[in-house]
Symmetry: C2
């Protein structure tokens, strides 16, 4: 991987204590894990307890954007609060000869930071474009863009990509040497996220051909 | 869905304030979302900040089990603490005519509760079986089971399935009526998690045929 980017932070909680060989210190690895993901898991503390919710996101340089309804109180409550955003790709189930050595292949990014509700209208517009195009590149330009009323109904949160850790496991099981002789099948079951054939809305008026950006996303 | 099970809890934070039509109140829906998942996201509060980590899990009746290394301090720190476990299935990207009406189809379960490190040896053994067979049903019986030393190196956490919410979105975009005439393709891009062909460990000794439990998982 490229090493031309700023290395990832090394704070106590982003320094891996276990399986250090799975740690990535290159910022490019963080970008790759985030850019390949579809949804993230946002962790906040509410009334002292952890809350973890799945949500869409997008990345613009070293800023992560999330969005929600401006009627969502939890969203506003997170303004100025510490949050954690995690993106995980499960790449395989690792079947070892011993139960103990079973594992999974994965790529994950864990980002810690202080969330801010974005108030600048230009940045809000850009953030929504980034989130929309993250899920389906090219979709923003193809769809009807937000009205003033719709913008008012939408809240945008930003999180700087300053404190993050990336972990990646690949490859085969790591059984103890004495287990290698066991008559147990061992290997990896690859797991991936795949897209099916796009299904047009039955309410579609007339013949609208499948656009390139949808075909590209689904392929 | 069956209504013969205990309904899900209705505490303030598991009562949906938005998109109530996406809420499920049947415990069977919780079981289905959990049983179909591969990894969960565990949220804890550490030094006052939220931390969200992906991990394997398994369900035994109304108990969720997680496991980790007994050398993992964070695991022990969670004993007796409030945690949140979330399992999310992304089922589709919902492309609406307006950017504002874009959405995703998903099934998610959010569980709140107090985690306990399991100390009873029989329950620990059973929990590890449940977690192993959750990822690959039948794997526990096929693989070499844990030694006393391996059991000592493994920590097991339990979480009761008492306070939980389940949300499910399915179907087509819900554009405003006046947007239906727009010349914009709308519909759903189905998303699913799929298994590829199992890859045997090159260190495998001799010919070990692919066992039924691996073939069944991958199909």
């Amino acid at each position: 991987m490229s090493t031309e980017t700023t290395p990832l932070s090394s704070t106590p909680r982003t320094t891996l204590r276990r399986h250090r060989e799975r740690g990535e210190t290159d910022r490019t690895a963080l970008y790759q894990v985030l850019d390949a993901g579809l949804v993230c898991h946002l962790g906040v503390v509410a009334d002292g307890d952890p809350v973890v919710l799945p949500t869409a996101y997008g990345r613009d340089g070293d800023t992560l954007y999330l969005h929600g309804s401006s009627a969502n109180g939890a969203f506003w409550a997170a303004d100025g609060q510490r949050v954690c955003v995690t993106v995980t790709h499960l790449d395989g189930l690792v079947a070892a000869r011993s139960v103990f050595s079973h594992s999974v292949n994965y790529r994950s990014a864990v980002i810690f930071g202080t969330a801010s509700v974005v108030t600048d209208e230009d940045e809000r517009w850009q953030a929504l474009r980034v989130i929309t195009d993250h899920l389906i590149p090219g979709r923003w330009a193809a769809a009807r863009q937000p009205t003033t009323k719709e913008m008012a109904a939408t809240a945008v949160m930003s999180l700087p990509l300053t404190e993050a850790s990336v972990k990646i496991r690949t490859g085969m099981p790591k059984d103890d040497r004495e287990d290698l002789e066991l008559d147990v099948w061992a290997g990896v079951l690859p797991v991936s996220v795949t897209f099916g054939e796009p299904v047009p809305d039955p309410e579609q008026r007339g013949e609208i051909p499948l656009p390139a950006h949808i075909r590209d996303r689904a392929s």
